[in-house]
């Protein structure tokens, strides 16, 4: 359960304030599949970072499962990110000079997962993201953009999180691999009732979701159920 009350986010540059998010109010129930869309620079990624407990709002409160994020310590937040949240970054953020498998296993390292089981779980997650096995031992910086994107998705899935936040997860993928990824998200949502929030520019991607939130200049201008 996600609740945002009057969330604002401002950046300060030499005492000049730019308000990127302006008093957002909305909530997302467990098990929802939500797409967020809007023009470039409208504040989508900024909002995602806040929802993913990676960043804090300048004002307003963000409640995750009923508890205000501001009440948690740094380490508690790390734990929440590790166990509850799977985050796909718009710019992937893979560890360079590190193999695909090691990248995907990283959240398992911090979850203190048994070492012997990690690789199998990572391989499953990679398969669900549509990356073929020949790439698993490559270094992450030897991959194409689309391949990196799928590694980033696999890393978000690997801990079996109940909340998946994906920032343009299909942005670098062709239609076919994009469909594999969206199918995976759909399965997680339909079969396992995981909450999925994804950012996208493409309407046909947004239509996979049950609900669509439209943002412009840091304000929600539309929030509706899709036809499906």
């Amino acid at each position: 359960m996600i609740e945002c009350n009057n969330i604002t986010k401002s950046y300060f540059n030499e005492n000049e304030e730019t308000q990127v998010l302006k008093k957002l109010n909305f909530s997302i129930r467990d098990g929802e599949f939500v797409a967020i869309t809007g023009p470039s620079g409208s504040g989508k990624s900024t909002l995602m970072h806040i929802l993913g407990a990676l960043d804090t709002p300048t004002s307003g409160e963000y409640k995750l499962d009923g508890r205000n994020i501001a009440d948690f310590t740094d380490d508690e937040l790390a734990d929440i990110r590790n166990k509850k949240i799977g985050f796909v970054f718009q710019s992937f953020n893979l560890l360079a000079r590190t193999s695909v498998l090691k990248n995907v296993m990283l959240p398992l390292v911090y979850a203190e997962f048994p070492r012997s089981k990690r690789e199998q779980i990572a391989r499953d997650a990679l398969a669900r993201s549509g990356l073929s096995e020949e790439h698993y031992n490559k270094m992450s910086n030897q991959l194409s953009g689309g391949q990196m994107q799928r590694v980033a998705i696999a890393r978000a899935l690997v801990n079996n999180p109940s909340l998946i936040l994906a920032d343009e997860p299909t942005g670098n993928l062709d239609t076919k691999t994009g469909e594999i990824v969206l199918k995976t998200f759909e399965d997680l949502n339909r079969k396992h009732h995981h909450t999925i929030i994804l950012i996208t520019h493409e309407m046909d991607v947004a239509e996979h979701a049950d609900r669509l939130i439209l943002i412009r200049d840091g304000v929600i201008i539309n929030d509706y159920k899709t036809k499906k």
Partner: protein
Amino acid sequence: MKIVDLFEEIWLALLSNKARSGLTILGIVIGIGSVIAMISIGQGSQKSIQSSIQSLGSNLILITPGAQRGVGMQVSQGRGSSQTLKKDDADAILSGIAGVKSVSPEVSGRYQVTAKGTNTNTSVNGVVAAYSTVRNVNVEFGSFLTDQQVKNMSKVAVIGPSTRDDLFGEGASYSDVIGQTIRIKNINFTVIGITEEKGGTGFNNQDDVIYIPLTVSQQYMTGGDYVSTIAVQSENDKVMTSVQDAITQLLLVRHNVETADFSIMNQADIVATASSVTSTFTVLLGSVAGISLVVGGIGIMNMMLTTVTERTREIGLRKAVGAKRKDINFQFLGEAIMLTFIGGILGIVLGWIASFIVSHFFSIATDVSMFSIILSFGVSGAIGIIFGYYPASRASKLNPIEALRYE
């Protein structure tokens, strides 16, 4: 984060930049190596000085004329010309004080000595038979002076090996020396013995010396009944202090003075004086080397700060996927400690080799002690922690999004 994972991360991180890790380790290796080598030189010379003081004789108390002028002054020879000690004082000490084993009254002076046309300038000591036991002087060939010869004022001499070399030629066989005549101040002496080689001891060379009967020396050279030193050997080291006090009392009474007109010190004082000098020396060497250890530590801090800056995005990502503060902290602190640990081990080996080379090729005594190994290992561990802590804790406090955006 499990310990195995931590070690794996640390190891991979250090391997990923071998040149930089290697150079940083080198700084620590040099620091620790020089601390160990320097302390080993210092402690080695401390030991060798102590053992050469012991070789001067054991349980020794030395009484010299003239008032006490501080411990340091008394170590050197050539005290003032005050003449306050007499042969009678020595006799009184031997007969009147319990715990005294033997007493050796001595006079000394430097004279020109000739033999068979060669001549040399050497130290001529007027001694009694007890000298040989009190001063730990052994005769290699022939015999030492006897009490009979001292009493009869026999013109006999025992010479040191260096003096023999000077007068009779390098390594002259004893049969060519014993029985020969040498001239000191126009008096002929017959050589009756050659002492064992003792080696220079820093204070005076005990091999370049001639021993003649005390009575002869007093009669023909120094004149009068005065002696320049009374060396007393106590029965054991436990009675040293009480014997020393008793001698002081006895001499005060005998000389009929309030404040001592003689100075008295025991071997323990001499050892303590020499030790304090050499330990100052050790500390000095150690601290010079310690500076290079600190420089090595700064090298580690520099490397860790660079690493943290370079890997800011990585830190952000790790925190984003669940790394806690302590995970990041331990990872970077661990890298610093690992560097110092490897540097420490190699440094100990290097220090050991260096001190071996010094003692082997420059014949300077060295002594690699457990203390210096533990000290430098402790210091390097502390350096790893101290210099790694700041960069590590800085890394651990980064906000994940800010870190990920860092360029």
